[in-house]
Subunit: 428 residues, 2 copies
């Protein structure tokens, strides 16, 4: 037997029967639990209600209510330049979405090219991007929407497989970039090692206009006091004069309000100047009232740290619970491995080959919506059909507990069923 | 003599000398007055400080603080669907800038094509747009940034010259659209006549994917009780099954906060669905907290009307003052004509050929910044060099008075100088 180490065929059969009955009980409960996305929960969002306290004297800041200031207000740049480790003129503050800044950046690449492009990317025969997997589905959707071909790169605990990356980019000038979530990666939760960051920073690429999309979404999102340190790729790249390659993104979406935060971009002064010029055709400026609210609510890097500690207090117990339950329910059977992140929003769960879709569908039929199987891969194709992304932050803890119970039961039924050559059918 | 009707050469010479001395006096004042853009003034912006009064109970609207709701919240759609005369599912609420929605719309045209395009516009040999002139400089900049060729269309008091429009679009399939500011047009202040709207609504075009960019920026921006009525082009176009052509834009930029308002788009359900799908790659949703603030502050079309009356109270006297001063200072000489808008943000001033640039430069040298001459034309080329856009709303009334005095003096010096074959030089 492949998975149920040390268990007899009969024992597996017994397990299958017991858990099948458990599943029927769950199905009768007509639950509606949603763990599909990495959304902060209500208690987390409440932490930032002070943003809109009505006490801000906008009268003295009339310029901020009026038109103008294309790339963001100085007060907020000051705070986040420190957090990001960049100069203020290397930053652009956007609207409420860093995803939108990423999309617009690649659209500009397609339409106008990057600073060192020989031509707009849409004038190339083809444009390709490296996609460390599993990764963030919305990165991959952007590529798909823009017709950018995606190439899977394996991830391990140190980040993307740099041997693979180096071999590919050194010879193919149509590989124009790579997506990275370098800290508390979505979904594996790992932080890129110093060696990976260094190798990315000095990458020798056939393309002159290679672009590292550095989505630092979780840069201050530690779950525990001992957070992980990410090496500064921007400083590293400057050593080699390669800083034009690095485009960093972050946002306050998971600091303040997910739907009403502030997105930002940082890159070399050369790139930032170029983007400012291009943005000038698109908008007169983003919402500076919201920017000022943020600057008042989060006046320093230290204030952000204290605020994020409160988030951790709310969500760390959820990560601990999921880990504990997975261990208790699945640990003994050797049928799953999962990550134990020190920050970020996800736990990445790997099942035996060919089981992920069936498990996700079974959960769905039982009222638990998970991120779609395959979503963490380009074109939604997980070649092993084995990865499931768990997003524990949003549900209340008792709902989370129920959802993970159902997930574990589904996994047991599906994997045992496969081992026994059976397919579980509800009510059968 | 061409301009100074009934005046002797000596009288013009006297005028020139007197006004030249006046200009020297102004120059010695080292003024810094800015009328370059159509910005609301501080008193107007103060009208909307209630937006951020801290009393909104966001706790019961937790979804609006969190991720989601791609195309805007229902409360605000309800209000503006009434104002725009569309169904809610024909609307998309965006971020703080309708300009950004327009830019993104044309970028999508270039990259993906419109609903009825045979191919993305950037796969055509060339894409052309009709540009009624004088018009809004930022519309023209978008075309220029995207490599869309612009064709000037003459405007009169009824709107664009429809004979010209019909002749061009009927035979050239590469003419993919037209820019329109149909009510209180920027900068002429005219409202399109019913006949113009009707002819636009049923236009026979060689292009299947012809697009009318209907920038209804000033739809509720009457200066006086007797505002002008704009015919509903959307309803008209539906009579002919041509509603996919119409893409309407508006925003609260000149209703609430210019830099922190809400932009929106409305079109056929078919287009709106298509845009929603395309937007889904770009963002998870725009700032819904700001949308809710707006829905609470402007809960109905009637509330908007009352609010706009307060704006009119502040800015109508500025328009009256400018008109009165132009009449007093220039009327007798027959050297200028200007519009008398009943709404919007601009007065359009026409000078004798070849005078606009010189007047704008002279004003600038005297501390008065006007919109650049030529800015109201594609490629910033006013073929007659005669149009100047006056934006009276932003300066306090005493500064406005000084600025218009200087503008009028500059006009007299420049036009008299031309009549006399002289060029005025400061301090000479």
């Amino acid at each position: 037997m492949e998975f149920f180490k040390g268990m007899s065929q009969d024992a597996v059969k017994d397990l299958y029967e017991v858990v099948s009955q458990e599943m029927e009980k769950y199905q009768a409960m007509k639950l509606e639990l949603n763990m599909a996305r990495g959304k902060p929960c209500k208690e987390q969002i409440d932490l930032s209600d002070g943003l809109i306290d009505g006490s801000i004297d906008f009268a003295i800041k009339s310029d901020y209510r009026n038109y103008g200031i294309l790339d963001g207000i100085d007060e907020l740049k000051t705070v986040f330049a420190e957090v990001l480790g960049v100069e203020k003129d290397e930053m652009i503050i956007g609207g409420n979405s860093s995803l939108n800044l990423m999309y617009d950046t690649l659209v500009r690449g397609m339409m106008f090219g990057m600073a060192d492009s020989e031509r707009p990317w849409n004038k190339e025969d083809k444009v390709k991007f490296l996609c460390p997997v599993p990764g963030y589905d919305r990165h991959f959707s952007i590529c798909q929407a823009l017709g950018i071909e995606m190439i899977n790169i394996e991830m391990d605990d140190n980040g993307p497989d740099m041997d693979q990356v180096e071999a590919l980019v050194s010879k193919d000038p149509l590989i124009k970039g790579i997506w990275c979530v370098p800290k508390y990666s979505n979904p594996t939760g790992i932080t890129y090692s110093d060696e990976v960051v260094q190798r990315l920073a000095r990458l020798e690429t056939a393309a002159k206009d290679f672009t590292i999309m550095w989505d630092n979404a979780y840069l201050v999102h530690d779950l525990y006091e001992s957070g992980e340190q990410l090496m500064d790729i921007f400083a590293e790249s400057k050593k080699y004069g390669l800083e034009d390659r690095i485009i960093m993104f972050t946002s306050t979406s998971k600091i303040t309000f997910p739907g009403a935060g502030v997105g930002m971009l940082a890159s070399s002064k050369r790139n930032a100047d170029r983007f400012r010029e291009q943005m000038g055709f698109q908008t007169i400026g983003h919402n500076k009232v919201n920017q000022l609210m943020h600057a008042r609510f989060l006046p320093s890097a230290q204030a952000i740290k204290s605020h994020m500690d409160k988030h951790a207090e709310i969500i760390a117990p959820k990560f601990v619970l999921v880990d504990k339950m997975l261990e208790e329910e699945l640990g003994q059977y050797g049928i799953a491995t999962w990550t134990k992140p020190k920050g970020g929003y996800f736990i990445s769960l790997d099942l035996p080959k060919g089981c992920a879709k069936e498990v996700v569908n079974m959960c769905l039929a039982t009222g638990v919506t998970l991120t779609g199987a395959g979503a963490t891969y380009p074109y939604k194709i997980d070649p092993n059909d084995s990865n499931i992304r768990i997003a524990p932050t949003f549900p209340p803890i008792e709902e989370l507990e129920m959802a993970i119970k159902i997930l574990c039961a589904s996994i047991k039924v599906v994997v045992a069923g496969k081992a026994l050559g059976r397919t579980y059918q509800a009510g059968a």
